[in-house]
């Protein structure tokens, strides 16, 4: 910590009501990022209060990390400095909602599940069905840049985030975009906030276009295959057909096995487009005997009128047979939640499996998947590490290494394998990051992968937004203010 706590706390209490400033060790420990504990926690009740804290921090050079319900703080590198945790959960209102226009403006600290429950009253929803769904806030979801299985049809947040209000590093409350579905007025600065981990600004409000719930009906489809090639062949056949499924995931046998034997800890809430399942149900039902673990799986979700649902069921089954599926099943409203809840929670489930889970996010063109899958499995097998894989929406791969123990030897092994995986990504059109990694591993590798050619441009942007480098210093993007030397000899 760079500054003495008592002064910091007094100063924060002069800005906020003392009941919303915490400095006791227990409270601060709850906001640790990679085991680094802040000196104080501040819970602003308005955007203006948040801006005032930032202005104070800029003046005093205090480092600050904004957060919501803290479900994804493990993403990124450890902060090089961390004085104040800025808890945004008191900003939790829907500021504006025009169901007739399908547009929404919502405070950053609003829980996603609560937001979607309110939209559901108007038969609308936001297609961000992300891990830790029942606890995640909308601000944290955008700042962490996690995607949802629904990206297959609805795209990622960059396709439906239409504006934002945020506090810059100099403490100015600023906005970008607007509240209409089409807008080219000024630079699209709000897009930069997606996945920025609080390094560019403190998000106070987000504007979205909302989507109609597919009320006519929805179904799931699952097909099993003896190998990845066959599952990917079906995925390609679907991509080349007229079908436009809402979700499209390919799972490795290892992940399928985890789905069959484990239940994610987060309670069930929405698991599909616009579903509003009760959050008081404590866990997902188990997958049924229609699910064949130990095989590769292709899972597709689709929606529409009864005629459309019939067409999907018919075409998907036929295409699966042509791709030599060993079994297929159509899932209805009672059977589908078990599988789609697990698809949504794949990342949280994988983190629960091992004390030292490392999850790579690999973005590689679909045509390169067959070779890449084989390569990844080979690297992990050679190191005798358990692994699991899901390829989402025809391009984004999550590959998890699941060591059975967490110790120095495991860390060294993970570091070696991480380097091999980063090296194995095709340089043309692909890239990889270590989305989740144990703290110990981050001492030896940059989770952001090899430096990119556009890093210098990112540095310029960071300076434009946060000239004093007070926002989450060190946490983001390969080499942006990240100085720890890489240790390949481990």
């Amino acid at each position: 910590m760079t500054n003495s706590s008592p002064n910091l706390v007094l100063a924060l209490e002069a800005i906020l009501d003392a009941s919303r400033v915490f400095s006791d060790p227990l409270s601060c420990a709850a906001y640790a990022v990679d085991e680094i504990i802040p000196s104080a926690v501040a819970k602003p009740a308005s955007a203006e209060e948040a801006a005032e804290i930032v202005r104070f921090s800029a003046l005093e050079k205090f480092a600050l990390i904004p957060c919501g319900n803290r479900t994804k703080l493990a993403i990124g590198m450890p902060p090089s400095r961390y004085d104040i945790a800025l808890d945004m959960t008191n900003l939790n209102q829907i500021a504006h909602y025009d169901p007739g226009d399908l547009t929404l403006s919502v405070d950053a600290g609003t829980p996603l599940a609560q937001l979607n429950a309110e939209l559901f009253d108007h038969k609308q929803f936001l297609p961000l069905v992300v891990p830790w769904y029942s606890r995640a806030t909308i601000g944290g979801t955008i700042a962490s840049g996690l995607h949802s299985p629904l990206q297959q049809f609805y795209g990622t947040a960059r396709d439906f985030l239409i504006g934002a209000e945020f506090v810059t590093g100099s403490g100015a409350l600023t906005k970008s975009g607007g509240r209409v579905v089409k807008n080219v007025t000024g630079y699209d600065l709000h897009k930069l906030l997606i996945g920025s981990l609080g390094t560019l600004g403190v998000i106070t409000r987000l504007n979205f276009r909302t989507f109609p719930v597919p009320i006519a009906g929805s179904r799931g489809f699952v097909a099993s295959f003896p190998n990845a090639e066959a599952a990917l062949a079906l995925r390609r056949a679907i991509a080349e057909s007229s079908l436009t499924p809402l979700t499209l995931d390919v799972l490795s046998p290892e992940l399928a096995q985890l789905f069959a034997t484990r239940t994610p800890a987060t309670p069930e809430a929405a698991v599909f487009a616009g579903e509003n399942r009760s959050a008081d149900q404590t866990s997902l039902p188990p997958v049924g005997n229609w699910f064949r673990p130990r095989e590769w799986q292709l899972c597709a979700g689709f929606a529409g009128t009864p005629e459309v649902l019939d067409r999907y069921a018919r075409d998907l089954t036929r295409l699966a047979e042509q791709s030599h599926a060993t079994s297929t099943a159509i899932l209805d409203d009672t059977t589908r939640p078990a599988l789609w809840g697990r698809l949504r929670e794949s990342l949280s489930l994988l983190l629960e499996v091992s004390p030292a889970t490392a999850i790579f996010k690999i973005s590689v063109l679909p045509s390169q998947h067959t070779a890449l899958f084989a390569n990844l499995r080979q690297i992990a097998d050679r190191a005798a590490l358990s692994h699991a894989l899901v390829a989402r929406a025809g391009g984004t791969i999550y590959f998890a290494l699941l060591p059975s123990t967490a110790n120095n030897e495991t860390t060294a092994q993970l570091a070696r394998v991480t380097t091999q995986i980063f090296d194995s990504i095709p340089s043309a059109g692909g890239n990889a990051t270590l989305l989740f990694a144990p703290r110990a591993l981050k001492q030896y590798v940059s989770v952001w992968g090899p430096p990119r050619p556009d890093l210098a441009l990112m540095r310029r942007l960071k300076t434009a937004f946060d000239p004093q480098d007070i926002f989450a210093p060190g946490r983001f993007a390969s080499g942006i203010y990240f100085q720890t030397p890489f240790c390949p000899e481990l």
Partner: protein, 477 residues
């Protein structure tokens, strides 16, 4: 212009790739807007390396640089506001790759939008953004302006379809952002550069997503006797979650002008029509077309016609896409606005536009993307009549003010350029401008690239004006 500079450029690119005589430059002082700005020099690079060297050479002579595609823009984005060197990308017009399996294409900035769709057609693919000028506008220009079009209602605007860019920065550095896949670690630089109107960097290569052609398409023409009923139908289509691929509105006054010229089959005596397209699986399209028809009938549509074949469908779209050209027959010049409003407020906005027109003595036509609330009110005027032109600009500013008052936006797809820059303070605060300026300066510190765009020239926010310096006749595409 400095003759040394002309010579150096001729040495670099060859004489055939440099224009400097006043009569040659005249063509490049226009775009599709009412603005004007003449470059001192026009150059035609054929490679990224040329662009980099042009930028460096221009810097040596302190000459500003502006990029230009086909010059179809509607906000003065591709005009040399302060003179200097204009880089026209017309000869960087190669489609470098169509990767059908991964649904990507890599193109040079001068490729015409429609040509990419044609190249993708054999694979059952197409490029979704389709501005009305798609048969002449370039993808580089689409990227600079984040262009839209009728079908962006369902498929998103240009930015939703761009995954990577090759850029030349104002200092001549060549850098790539994004990835062919789309996802890339770090900040979304691609998302920032698309729509930055050529004020941050020059785009020299673009990787785009290609979309799969739907198996079924139905085009409906709903004919109404009242503008209010037409607008209410749009509100209801949105509210009932029917998601057409396109939903365009033409009011009676404009469609009569179009019909006289194009004979698209629009009924001459109607108050307004909706041109609605539904796409997707055959089973879904049938249900959607029924739902659209039901809504329109509930709002007293006189008739809802379904185009019988591709020829009829294409004719209807020809009427829509060439409408602005048809209006050129009615008055020497027209001014096209681009405001966006919440779709729930369409009926009241159309009424307000007519009031404003009456107040200023103009017939204001409306032909626009109703489904996403992107208005294109058209004010017809005679540029030789200075007082009338002034009134036209005042009426336009009042319409924009109203759009903003009810929660809308200044520009939906045409860009701010030099045309709307003085209106920007209606939208953004000093703090907003401060950050945008910092971002601008992070890439373009000397404003050597496309100066005088987006940011208002007048420092204070008190006096808002929309008037360009010298009016002239323009035909929008």
């Amino acid at each position: 212009m400095n003759s040394g500079l002309v010579q150096e450029f001729e040495k670099l690119l060859g004489e055939a790739s440099v224009l400097h005589k006043p009569e040659d430059l005249l063509l490049y002082e226009y775009d599709g807007s009412v603005e004007k700005g003449r470059p001192n020099l026009v150059v035609f690079p054929t490679a990224t390396e040329h662009v980099s060297r042009i930028v460096k050479l221009a810097a040596k002579y302190n000459a500003p640089v502006v990029g230009r595609g086909a010059g179809t823009g509607l906000s003065g984005g591709a005009l040399a506001r302060t003179g200097g060197v204009m880089i026209v990308f017309a000869r960087m017009n190669r489609i470098l790759e169509v990767d059908a399996e991964n649904q990507r294409a890599v193109v040079q900035p001068g490729v015409v939008n429609y040509e990419l769709t044609r190249a993708a057609e054999p694979y059952g693919l197409y490029f979704a953004p389709d501005p009305s000028s798609w048969k002449s506008c370039t993808i580089g220009g689409n990227v600079a302006e984040n262009a839209g079009g009728p079908h962006t209602l369902a498929y998103g605007v240009t930015t939703n379809h761009v995954t990577a860019l090759e850029l030349v920065l104002p200092d001549g550095e060549i850098v790539r952002v994004g990835s062919k896949h789309g996802e890339a670690p770090g900040f979304d630089l691609t998302g920032l550069f698309v729509g930055s109107e050529g004020t941050l960097a020059l785009v020299t290569e673009i990787t785009v997503k290609l979309s799969r052609k739907p198996e079924a398409v139905k085009t409906l023409l709903a004919i109404f006797d009242s503008v209010d009923d037409t607008a209410e139908s749009v509100v209801d289509i949105t509210a009932r979650a029917i998601t057409p691929a396109a939903c365009e509105m033409l009011d009676g006054w404009t469609l009569r002008a179009v019909e006289d010229y194009i004979h698209a089959g629009f009924p001459m005596d109607s108050a307004a029509v909706l041109l609605i397209e539904v796409e997707g699986l055959a089973e879904a399209v049938a249900a959607q077309a029924d739902a659209v028809t039901e809504v329109c009938n509930a709002h007293h549509a006189r008739e809802v016609r379904v185009a019988r074949d591709d020829a009829e469908r294409e004719l209807l779209w020809k009427g829509r896409k060439n409408a602005f050209g048809a209006l050129g027959r009615l008055a020497p010049s027209n001014y096209v606005l681009d405001g966006v409003i919440p779709r729930s407020k369409l009926p009241q906005t159309l009424r307000r536009i007519q009031q404003i027109g009456a107040q200023y003595g103009f017939q204001i036509g409306n032909i626009f993307h109703a489904g996403d609330g992107n208005l294109h009110p058209i004010v017809l005027y005679d540029p030789r009549n200075a007082a009338q032109f002034e009134r036209a600009m005042q009426a336009s500013a009042e319409i924009i003010r109203y759009c903003l008052e009810i929660g809308g936006a200044l520009s939906g797809e045409h860009g701010v350029g030099m045309e709307k820059s003085e209106l920007m303070p209606l939208v953004f605060s000093d703090a907003d401008f401060d950050l945008m300026r910092r971002v601008h300066d992070a890439f373009n510190p000397d404003s050597s690239l496309n100066p005088g765009k987006i940011f208002p020239l007048s420092k204070g926010c008190g006096e808002i004006r929309i008037r360009p310096k010298s009016p002239h006749s323009a035909s929008a595409s």
